[in-house]
Symmetry: C2
DNA sequence: CAAATATATTTACGCGCGTAAAGTTTCTAT
DNA sequence: ATAGAAACTTTACGCGCGTAAATATATTTG
């Protein structure tokens, strides 16, 4: 038996047995194991005096129940899985951060995963996650790159709320941004303040929202009686600034400086495009003496600090995160989930800065 | 007992019992549980013919051992903890990504945590992590904001490699960048190509590397016979671009346009500073007709796409990640870890772009 | 083909905890 | 004070798997 010695405030010394399990901890606090077990399940479920005794013992011995033993015997754990397609993307980093905080505040243990843009990793993650018996999962799927069958079967077993990218009829709910509104809002603004924009996007974007944004652009232009004017960038993967830069150069050259106003499908593309403008000596901004106006969409954390500041439509991060978690919690209680699937779309907020 | 029916290719139908545990799975594959257990521990430890039988059964039944039961009975798990101070910072997002991939490739399950810049969360994470019995932990501590005692006691129990921020004598090893070299390299370059820089940093930076960079700056300036010229930005937290922007405006105004060359303590600060320059109408660049040269340090993913491209010193991400993981694996085997602590510092690479 | 060796089986215990049932003590309310 | 409820203790089983020991079977070697 191991002993360690701990100096008390008064100078007295008390022998502290190293606690190996709940049995020993219960003995140390002068209670029975079932009572202590009850306490860890819900501290308010025991008598206040009992609770105090346990909490005092807890300070002395810093014991924690073995999570593996606990989780083995629970049907469901207190874990909430959070899966994003690409964590190195600041948008997902930011929303994951907010989601994590909300889960922690609600007394759950978030477990964060990134698919790193790869289908086989997304599948592996869902496989792992299923075996973790999570209380629920917040999933932003790869989208285009997802294996629908895998995600579908996963959602059949685990309460899941999809966010960011929707997959038709999969999961208990979807929470995301109204991409159509994003584009129509921005097209409207750009048209009023200068001229209607051409659209700069990827031909094969990694994220399916891009498609909705394109459709939104086309619709918004049509509503104003304009022909859509779309330039598609080549390239695949998540290195969006690079693609925006390189293909931006090409686009600028093709248009021979006659650029007017460009709406980029997302902020990272726009950031690359801004670099391309700088490279070609184009002055960017809403100011009449400038050569081109550039706008983006997403409200990327850095968009405020580009030169010039990027005019964009920002996701409502807080609301999306809040509603995702809240919706998930609803389904976690619900016995007969799967009966009705809800979709929630939130509007973006126009951030007028000096680039357009 | 639950049955489900599965149509075979030939049209034949086979009854598939739902496998509940290793016992049932062993029965289904016509083997004993201990043998199957051995297989999952190491597939090559059973006879090839046996292995084939299990793998075939595995395809039919997609059974996975209960991770909680497995981990309860193992002294150590196959988990590797990865802890970063702030995941929404692209530098940490990027290095975490690389670390994760390396762990996966080595057959481990990375578990990713962000302290979100808060000490109490860092402590909680370490607490959780300890109870997870991880094989090892890769820890980038908050640094200044860390609770030394907590980290120390954690490292005493778990093989831990610190990265990014060093804490004196804590952990089995430290792997990071040589911040002194970063600054001396940059000061050297800037002095040769224009004039020696003044230094723009935070007064109370969230990351302790900032201190080393300041010292490096002072030393490098002294080596060239110059007086150091340091401007300290106010503000706390991780919103570095904002601080760089707002305090950058102040610094520019104080210097009345007479700015010369500025070296920012890190790229995010520099990005904010660039925005401040743009706001004040200062032309940034190495070109003689520009008003100011701006340099940063870190090799931030976006630094290439600022306008103008940011001259900076880049971390050797791949090497740092690789050596961190490799070092950790070494200590994981080692029985008498703790005898000697190693520190590895890697040099940064100068990225000459057009901002300085 | 027999002996030597490698591999599998059988049996059994332990891990740390959830949880149910029955009995005992403590609290609350009249 | 006393009944009744609430909380606790005791006892006991189960979860799914790791793992050790003894035994049985299969494979390799000469």
């Amino acid at each position: 038996m191991t002993f360690r010695w701990k100096a008390e405030e008064g100078g007295a010394v008390v022998s502290l047995k190293t606690i190996r399990n709940m049995e020993e901890f219960a003995a140390a606090s002068g209670l029975s194991r079932p009572t202590v077990s009850k306490f860890f399940h819900d501290p308010s479920s025991v008598r206040p005096s009992t609770r105090r005794r346990i909490e005092e013992a807890l300070e002395q011995y810093d014991y924690r129940p073995n999570i593996y033993a606990v989780n083995q015997n629970r049907r469901l754990t207190k874990t909430i899985g959070i899966v994003v397609p690409f964590l190195a993307d600041p948008y997902f980093a930011e929303i994951a951060r907010v989601l994590e905080m909300r889960c922690i505040d609600a007394g759950f243990s978030p477990s964060l995963f990134s698919s790193h843009g790869r289908q086989e990793l997304e599948n592996d993650i869902l496989d792992t996650l299923r075996s973790m018996k999570p209380a629920g999962v917040l999933l932003a799927p790869l989208g285009r790159g997802s294996d629908r069958a895998v995600i579908e079967s996963f959602c059949a077993n685990v309460p899941t709320v999809l966010f960011d990218s929707n997959i038709d009829k999969v999961g208990d709910a979807f929470v995301g941004s109204d991409n159509g509104q994003f584009t129509s809002l921005m097209v409207d603004y750009l048209s009023r303040t200068g001229g209607s924009p051409w659209f700069f996007e990827m031909e094969t974007p990694p994220n399916p929202n891009a498609r909705k944004r394109r459709q939104g652009y086309i619709a918004a232009m049509a509503a104003q009686g304009h022909e859509p004017d779309i330039t598609q960038a080549q390239g695949t993967g998540w290195d969006l600034e690079k693609i925006g830069y390189e293909e931006g150069l090409r686009a600028i050259d093709e248009r021979k400086g006659n650029c007017g106003t460009v709406l980029c499908s997302n902020d990272r593309l726009a950031i690359g495009f801004l670099a391309a403008c700088f490279k070609r000596g184009l002055r960017v901004g809403i100011d009449p003496q400038c050569d081109i106006r550039v706008a983006g969409m997403d409200g990327h954390p850095i968009s405020k600090y580009t030169a010039p500041g990027l005019t964009t439509v920002a996701h409502d991060y807080e609301t999306i995160a809040g509603r995702s978690v809240q919706t998930l919690f609803g389904f976690m209680q619900d016995e007969d989930r799967g009966t009705q699937r809800t979709e929630m779309l939130f509007e973006g907020k126009l951030l007028m800065r000096s680039s357009a």
